[in-house]
Symmetry: C2
Subunit: 213 residues, 2 copies
Amino acid sequence: MPIEIPEVVIERLPVYARALNDLLSRGREVVSSQELGTELGVTPAQIRKDLSYFGRFGKQGRGYNVRRLLEELRQILGLERQWSLALIGVGRLGRAILSYGGFYPQGFHIVEAFDSDPKAVGRRIGALVIKDVSVLEETLRQTHVDIGIVAVPAEHAQAVIDTLVATGVHAILNYAPIAARVPANVHIRHIDPVLALQSMTYYLKAHEFAAAK
Amino acid sequence: MPIEIPEVVIERLPVYARALNDLLSRGREVVSSQELGTELGVTPAQIRKDLSYFGRFGKQGRGYNVRRLLEELRQILGLERQWSLALIGVGRLGRAILSYGGFYPQGFHIVEAFDSDPKAVGRRIGALVIKDVSVLEETLRQTHVDIGIVAVPAEHAQAVIDTLVATGVHAILNYAPIAARVPANVHIRHIDPVLALQSMTYYLKAHEFAAAK
């Protein structure tokens, strides 16, 4: 059993990996935690502490080898391989997700898509044929997928998530605006622009208050 | 100057508010931190600690009055008022954002939209007429908006963000997959499904490793 690494640390690693990838594409070979921190708006101490969970990467005073650190992070995060995804919900949002060009190049392949609308079921989108959500459980018991993407209306989301969990899916990307319940061994991330907006208005209020004084 | 409240606490408050709203709509009058924690997958201690930054809400052993706590949180977060937003980028993603029904009922009104595509500029979407991004700065100096939504391609995102900041926008919701730089007094939230996926594959790898042993 490895030491328990805080989930917030794991969530920051992809951000570091992206920044390192940018640096590499600009031809940079070495970067200090100071510079990486400035780039990302975090403290160098936090970067050093986060990376220390995974061993020693940099030499004191020398900075990090950009390519080596990126490769290590990709290895740690499992970004060097392909992951298969099932999309549930192919309404307007689901279609935007299917047409989003950012998943495939990063190794995330949507291999199944489901909807409950009879007008959508059977339609071909690229290489995918949309299946009826009634065969979701049956299909995922036969075809392994690593991650489920939930893009159904809020009132159906928990039931879909429960089905995904029942078939052995351990990672869920949830676009429905609900506080979804999953077992402790299942990981879930929420894509929720309203919550993101609501976490900023606090500061806007405070700012207006300060400006009015 | 009030005490500094950690940003992670502020980010959790909208999640609490949503759960309380759900409870209220189900007719619940009182909730314990235990039950709220179970609902949200966090510890009751964390809920009590987060709320303690804002004063005393619950009576020991009595739980929280759902309606009162919700109203307090809405007040703290500024959710009881209307906020005006400008959308920059009206491609496929931007159109999905414009048609998303979740913003308006929560007080988030998109009042301006901009794009650089001559085919998009001048088009009417609902009550909005898409403006050329070249008049973004001029427009926002005349018309106050509280929040900017950035839905332009990655290579243009930092320039758009810089323009928003220059016109006095203090909150940005960024959909572009970049590590954007903003001054310390500007708040930014990223909507990035790839980063969310990449923060789960770590656990999928670990899970497979454990299952294979």
